[in-house]
């Protein structure tokens, strides 16, 4: 590149000197020789400004030679008749050298400024780009593509995985497919020092820059080019270093953000655990307190308590114990659901039977509340785990009973549409507050209007857990005319098994005549 530049400069010098000579030849009859000298000097200055010192000196030498040969008497010889012309030659040369040097320095300064500007611009682009990325992978991806684009070299980024082996995070594997370079990248990662072919390690063709922030090596940039010497260009070296630093900082930022996120997650988990503990201890202690109180009253003052009061105490013990039992049951179910230990044993079941069993089991709790069941007459057998699904129905009905006015019936309906069972439990309760639809299935969530009722907020999340485990969905919606509708959708998964039908009129009766 430099050679082509100087060839251009020398060609320019020849052209300008030739031009000056042509004009001088034209003017020589009407001018003093000193005027012609000025013309040549002008040419030298132009060359110096345009092409720098070398071409300027060349132009000066050429000018002196031509001026001497063509115009200084005796003409057409290099001999000089008067000594003063030697001074002229000296001045021309001095002017050429001085202006050439000055302009060359100016040019250099301008070029350096331009270069610095370009470098700053590209660093800025990179840093803007990196600032937009979140996560180490994205940062490395951006850095690698910027380096390739701006520096015109091949780049790849590697991370250490847990076992100390390298994984490619961005870019093409390129030189990392060769064993020595992989080892060099690993060393760079291990020691936090750049390692490359310039250190004379046999077989290494690239340059491996560790991305260090603080004391931690986060990743390694592996750079290569078809001609590795390109990488050693000081200008490029500096850019590579600047890019590496920027990328390392961005990686560190990601790591800190990730740490902060993890800490936040831990804080959230801790908060959830505290909420759970306080809920659990409240829901365990309340019935226990009632039981203990009633039992101790019966034990200590049994003789003095009237028969109806004794009866009431016994009822309290029994009811609170049942409440405790339900709560513990829910907790256990929740734990089983969350630990993933829940095994869904699907068999073909009649929904009518499962709903019936739920209602029978709920019997005393519903205390005479009307429940209307309308199941489509053509419901097929449904693949489900009856024990679990009975609980879904029970929890939904219990929920409806708890949160709706006793005067209105709870309505259960089911249809099959498009190979999906749709089971609905509807009530005429106060309905949900806006935005509650999503939260109501969350663990320990209790509706805004639930404060006055007992319960731990587990029933509906257990429903969702079980329905999820069945591959179905459960949603809640406002019911037209007031109240809520819970809808369970369950895929049917193929046709139910067929059974051999008995012949019509196949009666067991043995009529005696």
């Amino acid at each position: 590149m430099a050679r082509r530049e100087s060839a251009k400069g020398h060609a320019g010098a020849i052209a300008v000197v030739a031009g000056a000579t042509a004009i001088s030849a034209f003017l020589q009859d009407h001018s003093e020789l000193s005027d012609l000298t000025m013309l040549y000097l002008l040419g030298v200055v132009i060359i110096a400004i345009s092409f720098g010192r070398g071409p300027a000196i060349a132009a000066a030498l050429l000018s002196v030679a031509l001026f001497d040969f063509l115009f200084v008497p005796p003409r057409f010889t290099f001999r000089v008749s008067e000594a003063r012309y030697l001074v002229t030659f000296g001045v021309m040369l001095a002017v050429a050298v001085i202006t050439g040097t000055l302009t060359a320095r100016l040019r250099e300064q301008r070029e350096r400024a331009l270069l610095r500007e370009r470098r700053i611009a590209s660093l800025q682009r990179l840093s803007q780009d990196l600032a937009l990325r979140s996560g180490a992978a994205e940062v490395l991806e951006a850095a690698v593509s910027r380096i390739q684009e701006i520096l015109g070299i091949e780049a790849a980024a590697v991370l250490a995985n847990g076992q100390g082996a390298l994984t490619l995070a961005a870019g093409n594997p390129g030189i990392l497919t060769s064993e020595p370079d992989r080892a060099a990248a690993q060393l760079a990662l291990l020691h936090g020092r750049p390692i490359g072919f310039s250190q004379g390690v046999p077989g290494v063709r690239g340059m491996h820059m560790p991305l260090v922030a603080g004391t931690k090596v986060n990743a390694v940039l592996s750079l290569s080019a078809p001609d590795p010497q390109v990488l050693l260009d000081p200008e490029r070296m500096e850019m590579i270093r600047a890019f590496s630093n920027l990328t390392a900082l961005a990686l560190e930022r990601c790591r800190l953000a990730e740490d902060a996120r993890q800490i936040q997650t831990q804080v959230d988990a801790e908060r959830a655990r505290n909420a759970l503990l306080s809920s659990v201890s409240h829901d365990l202690r309340t019935p226990l307190a009632a039981i203990t109180g009633a039992a101790s009253a019966l034990r200590d003052d049994g003789a003095r308590i009237s028969e109806p009061a004794r009866r009431e105490l016994a009822d309290t013990i029994s009811e609170e114990a049942q409440r405790l039992n339900r709560f513990i049951g829910n907790l256990l179910d929740m734990t089983r659901l969350e630990s993933g230990n829940l095994r869904v044993k699907k068999e073909w079941h009649s929904l009518e039977e499962v709903v019936g069993a739920s209602l029978t089991r709920l019997g005393p709790e519903l205390s005479g509340r009307e429940v209307r069941v309308s199941l489509a007459a053509d419901l097929p057998l449904i693949p489900m785990d009856d024990v679990l699904f009975e609980q879904v129905v029970r929890n939904l009905v219990e929920n409806a009973h708890k949160y709706s006015s006793a005067g209105f019936p709870i309505e259960i309906s089911a249809t099959v549409d498009d190979e999906v069972l749709r089971l609905q439990v509807a009530d005429r309760g106060e309905g949900l507050a806006a935005g509650e639809e999503k939260h109501i299935f969350e663990k320990f969530y209790r509706g805004s209007r639930a404060a006055a009722r007992t319960g731990a907020g587990l029933g509906l999340s257990i429903c969702r857990g079980i329905v999820d485990a069945h591959g179905g969905t459960i949603v809640v919606a406002k019911r037209p005319g007031g109240g809520s509708v819970f809808t369970v959708n369950l895929p049917l998964e193929g046709a139910p098994p067929t059974i051999e039908r008995e012949d019509a009129g196949d009666s067991p009766e043995m009529e005696t005549a």
């Binding site: 114990a321 073909w348 008995e502």
Partner: protein
């Protein structure tokens, strides 16, 4: 009521003897108090081994067996006792242990109650078990089974409710009489499938579901909330001992 169950079903004179095999002291105490209050005599065992010994030496009339014993599991106790005796065994289990319940029933237990249970619930199970035992030991089966308003004439194979004949298919009838012969007792899916359809059908539980639904639609006033043919979810079915329906 107490006087009726207090009669020893075999001798008809002394109170029935109950063996409680349970390691939890609290439950033993509550059972003893409750049972003695109802006129039963009570003996206790804290381990399975002790329980098997007591069952052999004291010849109780009914055994209440906890499935979660410290030495060996309840199933083993059931099998050991069944090797030489048909004493009614009622298993006490925790919720969510449907597999254990089925296992115990298949091993020969008569019935189960789920903890926490109430005294009336347990007494009802014990009464049914004691009655079935006394029946199987005494006279041959009656020719008519009557459960409330439901009447099954075994000789004429005719089923009626409140005097009105209900036509049943052959399989519906077989299913109904199997349940009726064990009224009050839980029967596992497998048992019913084997009894009604035969041994090769024991895993075809959908047959049972379909026929159970058919029977309910013919016999129950509200098939969606049965009162005669009760579901024991995850385990089997139980025919209730009392039933009233007017057609």
């Amino acid at each position: 009521m107490a006087s009726r169950v207090a009669k020893d079903p075999v001798n008809g004179s002394t109170a029935a003897l109950v063996l409680v095999i349970e390691d939890e002291l609290g439950i033993r105490r509550f059972l003893r108090t409750g049972l003695e209050g109802q006129g039963y005599r009570c003996i206790e065992a804290g381990t399975g081994g002790e329980g098997v010994t007591q069952a052999a030496t004291r010849s109780p009339d009914v055994i209440l067996l906890d499935l979660g014993l410290p030495d060996f599991d309840g199933l083993t106790v059931v099998r050991r006792i069944r090797e030489w005796s048909g004493i009614p065994i009622i298993v006490l289990t925790a919720r969510g242990q449907e597999t254990d319940k089925i296992g115990a029933l298949d091993a020969g237990a008569d019935d189960y109650v789920t903890k926490p249970f109430s005294m009336p619930e347990l007494l009802a199970r014990m009464r049914v078990s004691l009655r079935h035992r006394s029946r199987s030991e005494s006279e041959p089966e009656a020719s008519v089974i009557e459960i409330g308003t439901l009447s099954i004439d075994l000789a004429r194979r005719r089923v009626s409710i409140g005097g009105a004949v209900v036509p049943l298919t052959r399989i519906e009838y077989r299913l109904l009489i199997t349940l009726a012969r064990h009224a009050g007792r839980v029967l596992t899916h497998e048992f019913l499938l084997r009894e009604v359809w035969g041994p090769s059908y024991t895993s075809q539980s959908h047959y049972l579901r379909v026929y159970m639904a058919q029977l309910r639609h013919k016999l129950e006033p509200d098939p969606g909330r049965p009162r005669l043919l009760m579901t024991e979810t995850g385990v089997g079915y139980r025919m209730s001992e009392s039933f009233n329906k007017t057609l």
